[in-house]
Subunit: 398 residues, 4 copies
C-alpha cells in the first residue's frame, strides 16, 4: 500500500498489481505461458510444461515462493526476475526435477519484467478509461442541462464577459474525449508481449520464436510485437496520454476549486458524510476530489520528466534508466487513477448554482458603465456560448 499518503493519492488497483505478490504473480503467469507455448510447439515436453504451469499457479498460494523475499532479494540482484526465476527453479528441482531445466527457457529477466509491467499497466489504464468515460458522461449531462445557463467567464483571474455553463463543460470534456479516442488507438501498441531473449535478438528462442510469441501473447491477452527491450516509445506515448488525462482532470478540478470559493460560490463538490470536513473548523467543506486532481497532476509533471529521461536505454539494456522506469510507472498510474476515480466520483454530483451565477453577473454589471455592461455582461451572451458549445459537443472528439 506504500506510504500513508498514497491512500489519498493512490490506487488500490495499482497496489494489487504492483505489490510484491501481485507482480510476482504476473511474472509467474509469464513463465507458465512461456512453458505452455514452448510445449505446444514441441520445444519442451508437455509434462515439463504441465509441471511448470502447476508450480507457477500454486507457488504463491502454497507459500512455495515468498513474494516479499523476492522483493528483498532484488536489492542485491538488481532485478526482481532473478530471484523469482531462481525460486521457481528451486521448487521445480524439489517437486518436478526433470522439468526444472525447462523453466524460463530462452527468456531473460527483462522479458518477464516488461511483460508483467505491461499486464499491470493494462489493468489500471482500463480502470482509468472507465473513470474518464464516467466523467465525460456526467459532464455531457451537465452541459445539456445547463447549455445556456449564464455564468461569468474569467480571464487572467478577472471577470471578462459572460459565457455559459454548457460551454464550460464542453471545454472541460472535449480533451477527455480526445484522450479516450487516443488511448483506444495507442494503448494496445503498448500492451504487447516482451519476449526477446538475453540481448534482444531472440537467439535463445529457436526458429519457432514467432509462433511462441503468438501463443504466449494470446494466452496473456497481449498483442504481438518484435522485441522492444530498448524501444520504449510505445510506453512513452501511453505515459504522455495519461499525463494529458491528468492535465484535463486537473483543469476541471482547478476550475471547481476557483468557482467554489465562498465569495464566488457558483459550484460545489457534492456534500456527503465525512467528505472534506476539517479537524478544527466545523464550518469547513473542502473540495477533496478537486484537491486530489491537483496533487496528482503535480506528481505527474515530475514523473514525466523522469520518464522522458528514463526511456533512453543505452545499448542492449539500460543500467539505471530501465530500473527508474519501473519505479516510475506505478507512481504514474497511481496518480492518474487517484485523480480519475476522485473526479468520476465527484462530477456526477457536482452542484451547479444557477442563481449565484446570475447574481455574480449582476453584481459585476452594476460596477461597470452601462456600455460595458451591455457589451460584456449581458446574460444573453450565454445563448451564443450555448449555441457554440452545442456545435462543439456535436462534433465530439474530431
Amino acid at each position: 500500500m506504500g506510504t500513508i499518503f498514497e491512500s489519498f493519492l493512490g490506487s488500490a488497483a495499482c497496489d494489487t498489481h504492483f505489490s510484491a505478490s501481485g507482480f510476482v504473480g504476473a511474472m509467474l503467469k509469464f513463465e507458465a505461458a512461456l512453458a505452455q507455448a514452448q510445449a505446444q510447439r514441441g520445444e519442451i515436453s508437455q509434462d515439463a510444461a504441465l509441471a511448470i504451469t502447476r508450480v507457477c499457479e500454486q507457488a504463491l498460494e502454497q507459500g512455495w515462493i515468498d513474494a516479499q523475499e523476492i522483493a528483498k532479494a532484488s536489492s542485491t540482484s538488481g532485478s526482481v526476475a532473478i530471484p523469482m526465476v531462481a525460486g521457481l527453479k528451486d521448487i521445480l528441482a524439489q517437486r518436478h526435477p526433470s522439468a526444472a531445466p525447462f523453466a524460463h527457457r530462452g527468456a531473460t529477466s527483462q522479458d518477464v519484467i516488461d511483460t508483467a509491467l505491461v499486464l499491470g499497466i493494462k489493468e489500471v489504464v482500463q480502470l482509468v478509461m472507465q473513470d474518464v468515460r464516467l466523467c465525460v458522461a456526467s459532464l455531457r449531462s451537465h452541459a445539456t442541462a445547463h447549455l445556456d445557463t449564464p455564468v461569468l467567464a474569467r480571464t487572467l483571474m478577472q471577470p471578462a464577459s459572460v459565457t455559459s455553463v454548457g460551454m464550460k463543460c464542453a471545454q472541460w470534456l472535449l480533451p477527455l474525449e480526445r484522450s479516450l479516442a487516443s488511448l483506444d488507438q495507442i494503448a494496445p501498441n503498448a500492451w504487447v508481449l516482451q519476449l526477446a531473449g538475453a540481448v534482444g535478438t531472440r537467439a535463445q528462442l529457436g526458429p519457432q520464436a514467432d509462433q511462441i510469441v503468438a501463443l504466449m501473447a494470446k494466452q496473456l491477452g497481449l498483442g504481438i510485437a518484435s522485441g522492444w527491450h530498448t524501444q520504449r516509445d510505445h510506453l512513452g506515448r501511453l505515459a504522455a496520454e495519461l499525463a494529458l488525462v491528468s492535465a484535463a482532470l486537473a483543469k476541471i478540478g482547478g476550475d471547481v476549486l476557483l468557482m467554489s470559493q465562498f465569495e464566488i460560490g457558483e459550484v460545489a463538490e457534492p456534500h456527503e458524510p465525512g467528505r472534506g470536513t476539517s479537524s478544527a473548523m466545523p464550518h469547513k467543506q473542502n473540495p477533496v476530489a478537486s484537491i486530489a486532481a491537483q496533487a496528482a497532476h503535480l506528481q505527474v509533471a515530475g514523473i514525466m520528466s523522469t520518464l522522458s529521461l528514463a526511456m533512453v536505454h543505452p545499448l542492449e539494456r539500460a543500467a539505471g534508466q530501465w530500473q527508474a522506469e519501473l519505479v516510475a510507472w506505478p507512481r504514474l498510474l497511481a496518480a492518474v487513477h487517484a485523480s480519475s476515480s476522485a473526479m468520476a466520483g465527484m462530477l456526477p454530483g457536482l452542484v451547479i448554482k444557477r442563481e449565484r451565477m446570475a447574481e455574480n453577473i449582476a453584481a459585476l454589471a452594476n460596477q461597470v458603465d452601462d456600455q460595458t455592461a451591455r457589451d460584456w455582461f449581458d446574460p444573453q451572451l450565454a445563448q451564443v456560448a450555448g449555441h457554440e458549445a452545442a456545435k462543439m459537443l456535436a462534433m465530439g472528439n474530431t
Copy 2:
C-alpha cells in the same frame, strides 16, 4: 538568437519564427487574414480589409511597427498581442483612419498569439520531420549494409552476447519511424487556427464565425477547429511526440558515445574539418552530434515537466500557465531541432568499424570458458540477429 549557448543547442529556424520580428510578422498575417475573411463575408468593407492587409504586409519592412518595441512593451501589458494591435491601429489611424476600427475585430489577444505560435511550430516541426526522415534513411542504409555484422551486445554496460549492427540500427530507427507516423497523424490536429474571441465563445465574431474561421484557416495554411483557448491537449500531444523523437535520438547518440570510446572504438562520428576538436588537446576528436543529442534531451525532459503543468489553464484564460507555455514551446522546438539536425548531419557518415567489432568479440571470448564462448560469443549469433532485424525492418512502423 538567444544566449550564446543556443547556437550549439538551438535552431536558426526557431530563431526566425520566434524572434520579435518573426513572431510579430506572424501576428500581422493573422490580422490580415482576419480582415480579408471578414470582408469576404461582408462583415467589414473590402476597402477596410485592403487597407489593413497592406499595413500588415508592410508594417515591419517599412518600420511602421518596431518588433523590438512590441517585445519590450509586452512586459508591462503582459501580452505581445496588445502592443501589436495598438501599433496596428495607430498606423491605420494615421494612414487609413476609416479602416482602423475594423482591425482585430472580434478577436482577442490569445487568438492572435496562439495562431502565430502554431504557425511557428508547424514550420519547425516540418524541419524536424525532414531531419528524422534523413536519420531513418541513413540508418536503414547502414542496417542493410551491416545486417549481420557481428558486434557485442552489452546489457547493464557489460558484454552479454553477440548481436548484429543491423539489429542495433533496427532498434535505433523503429521508434523514429513510429514517431514520424504519429506526427503525420497528430500534428495537423495542433496546426489549427485559434479564433474564439474574448472568452472563447465567438460572441464577438457574429453569426458567420464558422465561415470566417474556414476562410482564415485556408489562407494561413492551418486546419479548422472550434475555439481551444483552454484546451491544450493537441499541443500537449505534439510536444510529447517531439519528446519521444528527442529520446530516440538521444538513445542513438548515447550509444554512439559509448561505442566510440577509445577502448571500444566500434563506431565513430564522421571526421570533418573543425568538427569536435579540442582547444588544448590536438589528439582529441569529440563526438559533437551525439553530445548535442544528449544535451538537448536533458532540456526536453525538464520542459516536459513545465509543459505538463503549464497546459492546465484555469477558467477562460490562464494567468501564468499560458505565458509559461509560450516561453517553453520555442525552447522545446529549438532543442529537438538542434538534436535532429545534428543527428541528420552525422548519421549518414557514421563510421562503422567491422574489424574492431570482431576484435572485441574475440577478446572477450578469450576471457571466458569455452562453453560460455560458444554459447554467448560466437560471431555466428549475428546471423540470427540479422534475420530478426530484417523482419523488424520489413514490418516497419507497425
Copy 3:
C-alpha cells in the same frame, strides 16, 4: 513496502516511518506531547493529559486505532489527521470521557501532519548522512592508497590525458563532504515543530503558545519555530541538498559503470554472492550499486520538479500542493537513501585495478605520435594530479 520495485529503489527506514502505522504512530506522539505540554502549562488538567498520553501510546498496539483504516479514510477526508483525531477522540470518549474534549486542543491537521513528516524526515536523513560519511571515509581511504596511481582522464568520453586515482576520488568525495557540512547546518532548520493552529496564527493556542511549543519541541526532539504552514523553504532547502547528495552519488556510480566496462576494466564493484548476477548469462557481473544510484537520481530529478511547484502553498493552506508535497517527500527520501546505502555498501570494497589502468595508458600512448604521448600520456602526470589532489583533500570541504 510500496511497489515491488521499491525494494531495489527504496528504504526500509522510509517504509517504517511513512507506512500507515509508522506515520499514525508519529501523529499520536504529537498529540501526546501536545497534551503534556498543555498540562504542564496548566491549560488542561494533568488527568486529561495522562489519559490522552496513555491512549496515544497504546492505541496502535492495542488495536484501538487501525492505521490502515485511517489511511483509507483519508481518501474521503483529504487528510490523514482528520480520521486519526476522530479515532483518538472516540477512544477517549469510551475510556476517559472527561479527557476527550482536551485532545488535539488548539491544533490543526497540518500541525500534526507536518510535525510527523518532519520526524520521519529527520530519521531517514540521519541514516543518509551516516551512509554518506561511510562513502567519504572509504573514498578518502582509496585516495590515500592510490594518490598518484596513474589512470586515463577522459573528457567528452574520449581519453584526454593522465590523471590519478587520488584525483578521481577527490573529485568524487568533495561534493559529498560539502553536502554533509551543509546538511549539518540547514537540516536542523527543517527539523522543527509545526504548531500554528487552524490558520497559522496560533489563535486557538492561548497566550502560552510559545511555552507550549518549547515544551513539545523538546519532548519530540525537534527545534522551535514560529508557525510555517505555508513557508516551505526550510524543507525545500533540505530537499535540494538531498538532491545534491543524490547527484554526487550518481556521478560516482556513473563513473564506476563507465570504468568497469569490460574493455576498460579499471574498477569493479566488489564480488559478493548473488550480487549482480544474470538470469540468463552466467558470465555476467552487474554493477548493481552504481545502477541503483543512477535509477535513484532519475527519480530525484523529477521529484525536484514536483517539489519546486508543490512548495508554493496558496493562501493559508494549499489545496493540492501540500498534499503533493506529502506524497513526494517519502519518495525523495527513499530514492536518496536507496542510493546512499547502495553506495556505502559498495565503495569500501571497490576494486581498483592499477595494472589495467597502466595498460590502458600504454595502449593509448602507442596509438598517438611521440610528442602527444609525452605531453599527454606520460604516467608521470599522475604525480602532479596526486599532488593537487592531496591539496584538495587537505582543504576538505572549504
Copy 4:
C-alpha cells in the same frame, strides 16, 4: 534577446551577459587575466601579456572577433571557447606574432567557459538579490502599516477564520529574508574562478598554479577554488536557492491573484498606464506582475529537473550534461530575474483594501451560526495574528 516571449519572461541583464558578445567579452577577460597573472609570476613575458590583454580588450570593439561567428562555429566545435581561442590566436598571429603561443596557456575550454558563466551568474544574481531586498522592504512596510488589519484566512481555498494582513505579509517575506541570508552565504562559493587545465589536474599550469589562480581570481572579482570541472554542487546549491526565491515570489503572486479576484477584491496590483490592459475588454485590469511570477516559476520547476541531472558530469568532462547546464543556467537566471523585477516593481504599490476585507469577513459571519461566527470570524482574531506576526518579524530570518 531570445524569443519574443522572453521579453515578458526575461531579463535584460541576462541578455547582456549571455548574448554572444557579452559572453565572448567575458571569455576574453578570462584570457587577459590569465596572461597578466602568468606574466606577474614570470611564466610568460610582460610583452606577451600586454599584447594579449590589448587584443582581448579591443577584439570585439574593433571587430577583430565577431561574436556571432563564434557562436555559429560552436555548433560544429561543440564549444564556444574553441573558436574564441582560435580567433584570439589568429589576431595575435597577425598583430603580435610572438605573443600568440602564450595565449590560453595551460587552460582548457571548460576553464574559460565556466569562469565566464560564473561572471554572468554573479551579475544577475546580485540584481535578483537587490530586487528581493526591495520586495522584503515593501512587505515589511505593508506589514507594519496593517499589522492587525483583519482579513479572511482561507485554507484549501475556503474561508477558515480571521488572520491579519501583517501575518500574511510575514508569511510572504520570511522565506525571502532567509533566501537572502542563504545567498549571502552560499553564492560566493559558486562565484569562484575555474582554472584546472585540460583534465582538471592543473598539470599544464606549472608549479605556480596556486599563485596564478589567486592573481586571476582577484583581477576578475571571483573567489579562489581548486579545480571543479566535474564538481557542480556549488552551482547546484545556488540554483536551488534561486528556485526557492522563485517559489517564494510565486507564492506572493499567487495569493495576489486570488485576493484580487473581482468577487474578493482585497488587494490589487497598482494601477499604472498600460499595465495589464486588454486588447478586447476595456474594463479589464490584469495583475501582470503576479502572472509573471507564476509563469517564471513554472519554467524554474522544469529547469530544476534538467539541472539536477545535468550536474552529474561523467569522468573528467561531461559529454552533454555540461552543455545542457550551460543552456539551462541563463534560462534559470532570466526566469528568476523576471519574477523578482516584476514583483519588486509591483509590491511597493500593492493596494490593500481594508474595507473590502472587513466586508468579506462580515458577509461570511452572516452565513454561519452565531457560535461559529464568534469563534472563527471575529475580527478581533486579527489582534492575535498581528501579535504573532510581530514576533515573527522581530526574529527575522532566524
